[in-house]
């Protein structure tokens, strides 16, 4: 992304200011993503440190097209790793609720896929899911991803978008229903 060319240039030059700028520009986003998975603030803060290190090691050679989306994904994966590590002690995050909501719309397979079958399934899932998302009204798509990808609470989504919680719940319900219909129609079982 053009606006992050300065940031990427600092990473490529191995300048430590890259981390300062990264924290300044995207610290809030990364903290927000981590906080929805890791309820403990200290965990979220440590996760942000992990993100900085991971990005420092990854760029170069990596060249993200969208820095915020790239950072959101890295943060989410690192937060989930940390969440798994803490699993036995803490299981109560906004994302746990999200698992349970979405569970009912994911067609269940027998789980016996080998590596090749799994790769094909993931590729097909990517195609079907992103085509599905692109067909959704923007508002429904944003609510869906904020809830299930970013793990935000319904009240939070409603407040940030200036709508009622009921509207968000209804939108999520409809989107889940449509997703289920599409996955079943396309024969995607997970």
């Amino acid at each position: 992304m053009e606006q992050d060319e300065d940031l990427l240039a600092l990473f490529r030059a191995r300048a430590e200011d890259a981390i300062v700028l990264l924290r300044e520009r995207y610290g809030r986003l990364c903290r927000s993503v981590a906080a929805h998975i890791l309820p403990d603030e200290r965990d979220a803060e440590e996760c942000l440190n992990d993100v900085c290190l991971k990005v420092w090691n990854a760029i170069p050679p990596e060249q993200p097209d969208s820095m915020p989306a790239y950072l959101a994904r890295v943060t989410r994966n690192l937060a989930l790793d940390r969440y798994d590590y803490n699993h036995a002690a803490k299981r109560d995050s906004a994302l746990t609720e999200a698992y349970e909501e979405l569970e009912t719309c994911l067609p269940l397979g027998n789980g016996g896929a080998d590596a090749t079958e799994q790769e094909i399934l993931e590729k097909e899932l990517r195609r079907v899911l992103n085509a599905f998302l692109s067909r959704q009204p923007q508002e429904a798509r944003v609510f869906f991803l904020r809830r299930y990808w970013y793990g935000e609470r319904i009240a939070e989504i409603a407040e940030e978008n200036g709508v009622s919680e009921e509207k968000v719940k209804t939108s999520l319900f409809r989107t889940r229903k449509r997703l289920k219909a599409v996955l079943e129609k396309e024969g995607i079982v997970l």
Partner: protein
């Protein structure tokens, strides 16, 4: 296992959508504020058209359960108020037609369903609104062919046809219409007979 399935789905999401999700949504009210007066006027026109020019006979008030017994079902979105259910008759259709009305915030919605033996892809518009609209579009509502027309931010309608059970649908709104809002509400109220 549940979490693995969940993460597999989320990992498949493309980055453009992740970035979009963190951007503020466009403010609809500001966008439509210029059209507000027009919306109110057109809303009145729609109501007048129902009262003065409708070919359908005066509706008989019924319950949702009675409509369901006839094979008609509409999802009522959360937050809907002033919900009414009615059955109408029309010389062109053998079957009776269901009409469900409700209001969400300031917007009045009218949904209709009627069974038809026709399988013509150029399906009829059962909404009974004869306004001229600035914009038109064709779309798919789930698996159903759909047509919509609207005046931006004002009144609009969506009609669709579920060919297998042979059901014609229409949904009108008296304000705030756009392709997006019409399709969104169409999806919200559509309760497929197959389910």
């Amino acid at each position: 296992m549940r979490e693995e399935r969940f993460h597999m789905v989320m990992e498949a999401v493309e980055e453009e959508f992740l970035e979009e999700a963190k951007q503020p949504l466009p403010k609809r009210r500001a966008r439509y504020s210029v059209m507000a007066a027009m919306a109110a006027g057109i809303g009145l026109l729609i109501i007048s058209s129902f009262l003065l020019f409708s070919l359908w006979e005066k509706p008989n008030t019924v319950t949702a359960e009675e409509l369901l017994e006839l094979g008609y079902s509409i999802f009522i979105p959360d937050g809907a108020q002033y919900i009414t259910y009615a059955l109408l008759t029309h010389p062109e259709y053998e079957a009776k037609m269901a009409e469900v009305t409700f209001r969400i915030s300031e917007t009045q919605y009218v949904c209709r369903i009627v069974a038809t033996p026709s399988v013509d892809i150029e399906f009829s518009d059962i909404s009974d609104t004869e306004l001229s609209y600035e914009k038109q579009f064709a779309a798919e509502l789930q698996w159903c062919p759909a047509r919509g027309c609207y005046n931006e931010g004002a009144a609009g309608k969506l009609v669709w046809f579920d060919v297998v059970p042979g059901l014609l649908y229409s949904m009108t709104m008296d304000r705030g219409a756009s392709e997006e809002t019409l399709l969104e509400m169409g999806l919200a109220v559509f309760s497929p007979a197959q389910e």
